[in-house]
């Protein structure tokens, strides 16, 4: 089972990783993937390469070789999305946006969902309040890291905001529009998929058919074709 139906613009179904990367809305139209000369300016500029095994140069090479095992490589989750490689590439390639596509492809196959589960409550919070927040597990980690002074500040946030002439809570006046948008784009289907660890019940789209069948059909009908 895959989740392409709510992610088809990030991960258009194509014959090769390179074509998917080029067609994805996560990458720029001018993406210089085919122009890569493996010079390594990306890796030389990369904070993740400096401290981990991640190598944007290698990642691009594997994409060009259509090596799909890259989707299961832990290192794709090490990129900081700092765009240093995007800035420095002399061929207008953009490993940082390519790795975003690879992560989305991995997610479609149920890989890395435990990482997304950490942040998943941001969606409902956005629908409800029109704002984002540090998610619950993040708050607990920050409480542990930052201690009593931060916890105390968060407790006083509303009165500090009022003192600064700001509204006391970060809730926006979005009516129900943001929730309607998240419903319309299929985000809540994706949320279910993440919460269920890829064994999700995506039956909201199905009637009598199994979710697997529906998803495959949806993918084949709706996924943009690459023409390659």
């Amino acid at each position: 089972m895959m989740l392409i139906h709510v992610n088809k613009y990030d991960t258009p179904e194509c014959e090769t990783l390179a074509e998917t990367a080029k067609k994805s809305i996560r990458t720029p139209d001018s993406l210089g993937l085919d122009r890569c000369i493996q010079c390594g300016a990306c890796t030389a500029s990369c904070p993740a390469a400096r401290f981990t095994d991640y190598s944007p140069r290698q990642l691009v090479k594997r994409v060009l070789e259509n090596d799909r095992s890259v989707l299961e490589d832990e290192s794709i989750w090490s990129c900081f999305y700092c765009y240093s490689c995007n800035l420095r590439c002399p061929r207008n390639n953009s490993p940082v946006t390519i790795v975003q596509v690879l992560r989305q492809m991995a997610i479609n196959e149920g890989i890395g969902l435990e990482r997304l589960a950490y942040f998943v409550e941001i969606g409902e919070y956005l629908a409800e309040n029109g704002a984002s927040k540090i998610p619950g597990p993040g708050v607990r980690n920050m409480e542990r890291d930052l201690g009593e002074s931060w916890i105390e500040f968060k407790r006083d946030l509303e009165s500090i905001r009022a003192e600064l002439g700001l509204k006391p809570r970060d809730i926006r006046d979005t009516g129900s529009e943001v929730r309607a948008i998240l419903e319309g784009t299929g985000f809540f289907e994706r949320e279910k998929w993440i919460r269920a660890g890829g064994r999700g019940n995506v039956s909201a789209l199905s009637h009598s058919a199994s979710p697997e069948t529906v998803n495959r059909e949806t993918a084949s009908h709706e996924t943009p074709q690459c023409g390659v």
Binding site: F80, C82, P137, T185
Partner: protein, 314 residues
Amino acid sequence: MKPIENVPDRKLLLFKSCMVSQEYPGIESATGYAFDRLGVDYFVNEEQSCCTGIGHYTDLFEGLTTAAIAARNFAVARRCGYPNITCLCSTCYAVNKEACELLNTNAEVREKVNSIFREQGMDDLVYEKGDMDPRSNFYHAVEVLLSKVDLIRENKQLDFSGVKAAAHHACHYYKVKYQDVVGNPENPQLIDDIAAACGADMVRWYEDRTLTCGMGFSQLHLNRNTSLQVTKAKLDSLKNAGVELMLHMCPNCHIQYDRYQPVIEKEFGVEYDTVHMNIGQFVALALGADPYEVCGFQTHSVPLEGFLERIGAL
């Protein structure tokens, strides 16, 4: 390159940032204080939602959701007559600018977003190609402040002479849409030029000047040790350069350096003397703002009292 002369001072929608609001609200009030004194026409609209940046870059939101939320915020900006979206957060800036480009150039995505709006009875949100211009409708607050640098110099009430400072220009301002940046994206100087006008002694090059803050969206939370190593690398460079004040332009970087500096000191057995503030807080302070009632320094983790006393702000 974005000419500074083209940065508008009218009809600016001061785009609310979730991390500013929840971690360093003084950045919003201080920027507003500075804009008021510099004659900038701006508006804060509570109808504007989060840009989705945190969810987008933790891979939670797919691109269609991000584009649709952006299109709604563009409608909010146009509807209130303040279409020049001016961000306090570099990620809001990049997300909005990229979404605008996508909506203008990808008819399929634009139509899909509009069909969602129509199906949900929100026809007034429909985005037509060219409703916004990715180059002329999107700014970062630091660009607006730089465009007023002469006024800041003339009206400053606090002089930062003798303060050794350095800038951290946020990655999502100058590395995402790097062809549309004020100055050279390999060596951005926006913050440096503003601070120098207030007398600060700017260290314009230090090791790792262009290194990311290390937050990396999911990295701080899921690869914490690597994240803090990156942050430490830059703090070490600042220490070696004798920098006492680090100036920021993004709340995410600000969290990473200000909140986590004491954590890094403890875990890595190091000590830093650097204090942190946003360039909006710095300019407000220079123009005479109260450090607590306007700049909101009481929300910071690294105490600023010693520094503020020394420069005569307390």
